[in-house]
Amino acid sequence: MRVMLIDDHSLVRAGLKQLVAAQSDIVVVAEANRVDGALEMAQKSRAELVVLDLTLPGGASLPFVAVLRRETSAKVLILTMHDDPAYARAALAAGALGYVVKSCPESVLLEALQSVSRGRLFIDLDNDEQTDHLWKTLMQPSISGDTDYSGSKLSSRETEVLRMLGQGLSNLVIAERLELSPKTVATYRARIAEKVGLKTTADFVKYARDMGF
């Protein structure tokens, strides 16, 4: 698997490279210390997985996740200092498939690289309680606007639609089954897409599968 590293700390990159060197199936094909020019490098090196730090010179790199997702087919694994679940939620909503806090042991990082490269969601906030809580809020979307604030929660109806989209059903079939108009289903779909950051039907299928729907 071809991996690109984007981190402004050379020590972190060196550590990662050392870690990856022992793996036969992972190769580091490119490195960058900032967002500028990183997209071109990712495209040129045909990276399949980008390991991205969230704090880079010139500001936060969250918007860059969406750019990578749009312009390349690379999967994105966030490796960061930030252990606040809000960052993880924002990164996943922007299209990242993995989120690992830097203080995690190397074994966790390897697991994350393997997982994400196979297209599976991976989260470790280096705090079991918070990681579990985040998984739960991602998988069991809240039913109504309770006091708990979350940037990317789905309503129960949206979850239902997402589950059906995940089964590869068309808007029309979903509309029939839920006794809604196709237009309403399209609206749900657009709202889910906006909240979770999905575009194509394939995205929906993959997302729903990753989330265990």
């Binding site: 700390h9 020590l11 972190v12 550590g15 969230l54 704090t55 500001g59 936060a60 969250l62 918007p63 969406a66 200092m81 930030h82 252990d83 606040d84 809000a86 960052y87 939620r89 924002a90 909503a93 922007a94 830097k102 203080s103 995690c104 042991p105 190397e106 074994s107 606007g145 006091t147 604030y149 940037g151 990317s152 906006e194 950051g197």
Partner: protein
């Protein structure tokens, strides 16, 4: 092409000097008017006419004097003070942001490598005693790391810059709920995904922080509800608790009063409004409304989060 530096008196005159000058001006003007009045008016005019002409003359002489000597300097002083305070606040925030960043991403980054390295090492060292020592060291490094992160968070949470006001306030509420015996709820649904001007977000965050501190220190409340919403073109923050209420804002403890002064100052600087409603025994509601200047879409750091 030259320029001249005008030195101004660094110390403003004491109040009695200013007061004396004002009194002397009024007395001298009145004296001059009374002296010239008989020459201006024909003999045997009525007392009413006398008074009218006297009043007009006095007013027309004194008003420009007062304008130039008192009103304008006062306005100027108020304007300067406002600018100074807002520069001071902006400077403090900039400095806090810088130090927090250094702590989190400089020192924190090194400590993180240390933690991660020691943890990996502990897996390799099988021997009982060395293994235990490496685990201990990893724990110490982990503590130092979380201290550094906590300090950075206390100075200025990076969440505020990266993910916006709603996320930063949610984190603030979580931290307060974890450390105090206080139930904290946050509703910010209408603000989700919106980003506002840096000054507005910072001011709202600091106001919320100050308000929560007041609740913790003085209110004896068990519940506090934070609501952040968009009301027309205003961003509205409401912090309401079920505590003992404030008997009188003037008579409240000095520290609490200082907190309120800080809140009012921040709100005024951004042309906002502060309302405090408090009934003794029934809690306090603090409402702040600031003009919600949105960040432009292109500059929005993370519009979709």
């Amino acid at each position: 092409m030259g320029w001249r530096l005008t030195m101004q008196r660094a110390v403003s005159p004491p109040p009695w000097v200013v007061w004396g000058m004002v009194l002397i001006t009024i007395s001298l003007t009145e004296f001059a008017v009374m002296v010239t009045l008989p020459r201006l008016l024909p003999a045997n005019t009525s007392r009413v006419w006398d008074s009218i002409v006297d009043a007009i003359l006095l007013t027309s002489i004194i008003s420009p004097l007062m304008w130039w000597s008192t009103v304008r300097p006062l306005q100027e002083a108020a304007r300067l003070r406002e600018r100074f305070v807002s520069d001071l606040i902006a400077g403090t925030e900039r400095e806090r942001r810088r130090i927090a960043h250094e702590l989190h991403d400089g020192l924190g980054q090194s400590l993180t490598l240390l933690v991660s390295g020691l943890r990996s090492l502990s897996d390799l060292v099988r021997n009982d005693e060395p293994h235990r020592r490496v685990v201990d060291l990893a724990r110490i490094a982990q503590q130092a790391l979380s201290d550094a992160k906590q300090m950075a968070m206390g100075l200025r949470p990076s969440l505020l810059d990266d993910l916006g006001l709603a996320n930063a306030i949610q984190r603030l509420a979580d931290d307060v709920a974890n450390h105090e015996k206080l139930g904290v709820s946050v509703v910010a649904t209408t603000v989700e995904g919106h980003r506002f001007l840096d000054e507005v977000e910072t001011a709202m965050f600091r106001i919320c922080q100050e308000a929560l501190q007041n609740v913790c220190k003085h209110s004896k409340a068990s519940q506090v509800a934070i609501t952040l919403s968009l009301a027309g073109d205003h961003l509205r923050l409401e912090v309401s608790d079920n505590g003992q209420g404030i008997e009188s804002i003037r008579r409240s403890p000095t520290s609490g009063q200082l907190g309120l002064i800080g809140i009012r100052e921040r709100a005024t600087l951004l042309r906002g409004q502060l309302t405090i409603v408090s009934v003794v025994g029934q809690g306090t509601r603090l409402i702040v409304e600031l003009p919600a200047q949105r960040q432009k879409e292109e500059t929005a750091r993370c519009a979709s989060c």
